[in-house]
């Protein structure tokens, strides 16, 4: 555990006497390993360590009687602020939400969770089955809609037309939010990324949430950057946080896209969604 490792380093230093820049380097090395093991991207780790080093080399820390506490405080605060500072307050009901992301990240399940979440906040949600590719994807959303008593819009046409028609239908019948569940896609699949961009342009959803598996590794940076280039992301949803993945990909995503993490998924049931608390994730990343 990082706190213990840093404490051990400082106990050894205390016996020697004064704290030096070399000691700080040793501490930075431990932090680096911890963050890499937590799946924070190596470039993001490098930037993070530079920020920490800058703060740690200030006189107040070097001359402090409890430098390990000071350093740990710097690390924790820097991590929390990079993850998004304070908790985002409720923005009210969006009219259209588009869920996007890699294959298997948890979009369809999250669509159901968001429907329940917004209905609790006086919404009248409509689920939209825009995944025309995956076997039984539409059925999956229908079974979900049925289990939570939320209507599902489906149509035998292409994903972009489904989205456009669903939004039109929602306007007529007064549904809000419209939750568009899209196909999982690779960020390097030009055709599918093009389809994504066209869907966005045709429907202009208020919220575009990138749904990311909490256990994502170094690739989080590529994923975040690529999706952010194609559509303007308004939020990231980190799923499967009920496991033991440390969630370093959250920091990577946030650092590289600047987009806030808005929710975390904490299970397979439709009430298993929570707001994102940066300080909790910071502790988790630090192990």
């Amino acid at each position: 555990v990082l706190t213990q490792k840093i404490q051990n380093i400082f106990d050894r230093i205390k016996r020697r006497g004064k704290l030096s820049e070399a000691d700080i380097q040793e501490v930075l090395r431990e932090i680096r390993i911890t963050l890499l093991e937590a799946d924070v991207n190596y470039k993001v780790v490098k930037d993070f360590l530079e920020k920490v080093k800058e703060k740690a080399l200030q006189e107040s820390v070097l001359k402090s009687i409890s430098p390990s506490e000071q350093i740990l405080k710097i690390i924790y605060e820097e991590l929390t602020s990079m993850l998004g500072g304070e908790v985002k307050t409720d923005k009210g009901l969006p009219s259209v939400i588009m869920l996007i992301g890699l294959q298997g990240s948890g979009k369809t399940t999250t669509a159901g969770k968001l429907a329940v979440y917004y209905r609790k906040r006086q919404g009248r949600p409509l689920l939209v089955a825009c995944d025309t590719r995956r076997p039984a994807a539409i059925q999956q959303l229908e079974v979900i809609g049925n289990s939570i008593n939320v209507p599902v819009y489906k149509e035998n046409t292409d994903p972009i037309s489904i989205a456009v028609n669903a939004v039109k239908f929602a306007k007529e019948k007064v549904y809000m939010p419209v939750i568009l569940d899209t196909s999982g896609r690779l960020h390097i699949d030009e055709d599918l990324m093009d389809e994504l961009r066209k869907t966005y342009e045709s429907v202009k959803p208020q919220e575009v949430f990138l749904v990311v598996d909490a256990m994502t590794g170094q690739d989080a940076v590529n994923i975040g950057e690529s999706f952010a280039k194609v559509v303007p992301l308004t939020g990231i949803i980190l799923t499967k946080m009920d496991g033991d993945a440390r969630g370093g990909s959250a920091l990577s995503m946030r650092a590289v896209t600047g987009v806030p993490i808005v929710f975390i998924g904490v299970g397979e049931k439709f009430d298993a969604i929570e707001p994102f608390y940066p300080d909790r994730i910071a502790s988790r990343i630090l192990g």
Partner: protein
């Protein structure tokens, strides 16, 4: 005289970045680079990248063709792994390969939990001409496995591939459920051999090691299928998994289509880490 530091510090950093960004993990990366430095002192004319590739390859179990193994005798293949890793899709692809090689295959719809999981497997069954044994959503997965085996034995089916619900390795009850499914299969399999296949998503980071450890502890994994290698993730975690648990990667998923599966080739895998 060439010293290690002036020839290779920069090159070593490049190699470190390649390994870290491939999800090899900091400790395994450090071990590998230390080994390369040691080997280089003994053979300073050898290229660093070659030494590194050899070190990685020596951590991986020897390659073999798992498909050839499945063509001998009768098999039950139990497919497990965390949520969304690609189990159901992998089963579709694997079934097609075995059927094309002349084997009779059935699928067992052991995911009785997730919405439309059975329907998803049925569509794959239709695509590749393989019958699916199923119960209703909510049925006991052990009971479906039992029926699957009963049907296979009655019809003299060569290969039974059992799909299971995705589950996080940290969930005690779900891991117990899976152990029970395996016990049912062990009890009923007669002359069928059992192969337990863990499916891991290539975009997974260091958590894949926990997954492999926990699933292995509960169920004894015979092999790993790594999926979604058609993305930009390199799947470097399997090096740590191989070195710690000695479990081989046997199959690789490279897309969502029925043809998008290959046998694991360690040379190609190691080369791709450095592209």
């Amino acid at each position: 005289k060439r010293s290690f530091s002036n020839v290779s510090a920069e090159h070593l950093e490049e190699l470190e970045i390649a390994l870290l960004s491939a999800d090899v993990g900091p400790k395994t990366t450090e071990r590998l680079l230390e080994e390369v430095k040691t080997k280089w002192k003994l053979s300073p004319d050898e290229r660093l990248s070659i030494l590194l590739k050899n070190s990685i390859t020596s951590l991986l179990p020897p390659s073999f063709n798992v498909i050839d193994r499945f063509l001998q005798g009768k098999w039950v293949i139990l497919v497990i792994g965390v949520n969304g890793s690609g189990k159901t899709t992998t089963i579709g692809k694997l079934g097609k390969i075995l059927r094309d090689r002349g084997k009779s295959v059935i699928f067992v719809a052991g995911d009785t939990f997730r919405a439309a999981a059975i329907e998803q497997l049925e569509i794959w069954g239709e695509r590749v001409g393989i019958p699916v044994i199923k119960h209703r959503e909510g049925a006991d997965p052990g009971a479906v496995a039992f029926d699957g085996l009963k049907s296979a034995k009655a019809r003299g089916i060569d290969i039974v591939i059992v799909d299971t619900a995705g589950r996080l390795h940290t969930k005690y009850n779900l891991m117990e459920e899976l152990k029970k499914v395996k016990r049912v299969i062990e009890r009923e399999r007669e002359d069928y051999q059992l192969y337990t296949l863990l499916v891991i998503d290539a975009t997974t980071g260091q958590n894949a090691i926990n997954q492999a450890r926990m699933f292995n502890e509960s169920l004894n994994i015979d092999g790993i299928a790594i999926t979604k290698l058609d993305g930009t993730a390199k799947g470097g975690v399997i090096i740590s998994i191989a070195s710690e648990l000695k479990i081989p990667v046997v199959l690789v998923g490279v897309g969502e289509g029925v043809e998008d599966m290959q046998g694991f080739n360690s040379k190609e895998f190691v080369d791709a880490l450095f592209w």
